[in-house]
């Protein structure tokens, strides 16, 4: 369902970014990069929030005509950004409902990001992976791929 999934380092350079279809890869790179603006905004806003509102999931970063961009940031300040085709409304609707209900964890976005986070954590724990390097991991690739095709 996602058309682009990106992992972005603390320092805001991409650790991993994969999009489908590949032809407008560039567009997604721009989109993800721009979305960091909102990520930063949300994080700084988050800092002030109360403990139980300090949620890793940032929700919808910003919508464009054709895509919705969602964000998530780990405690290690690594950002996950997911671009979803707007025509895919499943995510959006649930989003609206549960966000207004103030419960993130029921949103499909949240779950997808959790999967991403877990998988990323495994990458971090691979002794042969050098933190900060671009991610080249079969396991991670597969997981991302599964998210790209699977429709939820």
């Amino acid at each position: 369902m996602a058309v682009c999934i990106a992992v972005i380092a603390k320092e805001n350079y991409p650790l991993y970014i994969r999009s489908t279809p590949t032809e407008n890869e560039l567009k997604f790179h721009y989109m993800v990069h721009t979305s960091l603006d909102v990520v930063d905004e949300k994080i700084s806003a988050m800092g002030k929030a109360l403990v139980d509102q300090r949620e890793l999931y940032l929700g919808l970063l910003y919508p464009t005509e054709d895509y919705k961009v969602y964000g998530y940031v780990t405690n290690s300040k690594v950002k996950f950004v997911m671009v979803v085709d707007s025509s895919n409304t499943a995510l959006r609707d649930n989003e609206i409902r549960s966000v207004s209900a103030g419960d993130w964890r029921t949103t499909p976005g949240w779950w997808m990001f959790r999967k991403l986070h877990n998988s990323y954590t495994d990458v971090m724990c691979n002794p042969f992976y050098n933190p900060g390097d671009r991610i080249q991991s079969r396991a991670f690739d597969n997981m991302v791929m599964s998210m790209m095709i699977q429709v939820c």
Partner: protein, 158 residues
Amino acid sequence: MADEALFLLLHNEIVSGVYKSAEQGEVENGRCITKLENMGFRVGQGLIERFTKDTARFKDELDIMKFICKDFWTTVFKKQIDNLRTNHQGIYVLQDNKFRLLTQMSAGKQYLEHASKYLAFTCGLIRGGLSNLGIKSIVTAEVSSMPACKFQVMIQKL
């Protein structure tokens, strides 16, 4: 817990391994410590990533230090840091009165000269953990009577 024994042995073996390899090549004092510290650093990065996976975002530096002293320390060494002190200028002192990696050696001053070998890895753990949480720091350690020891964290202001 069972496999703690295994970890302790592994750690000892790593320490002696590093020092042995140093004996062959001409290596000065620092190299081994640094090597151990670096290994710890990498492990710390990995661990913190896991440990903070399900925790809420941290409020500030102090919040993070508390996490290191409580949750992190507990999961790694089965106990909390006994005392955390800070000057609020980016220097923190973590005191562990019964540091797990020193308890194997007899208490007091007998093996004091060897103690630092057994702290290097942990210094790395802390530094790695912090750096992965976005805090650049220098971690040093100090023992005057085992098995108590102090870790000093100097945080790089950005």
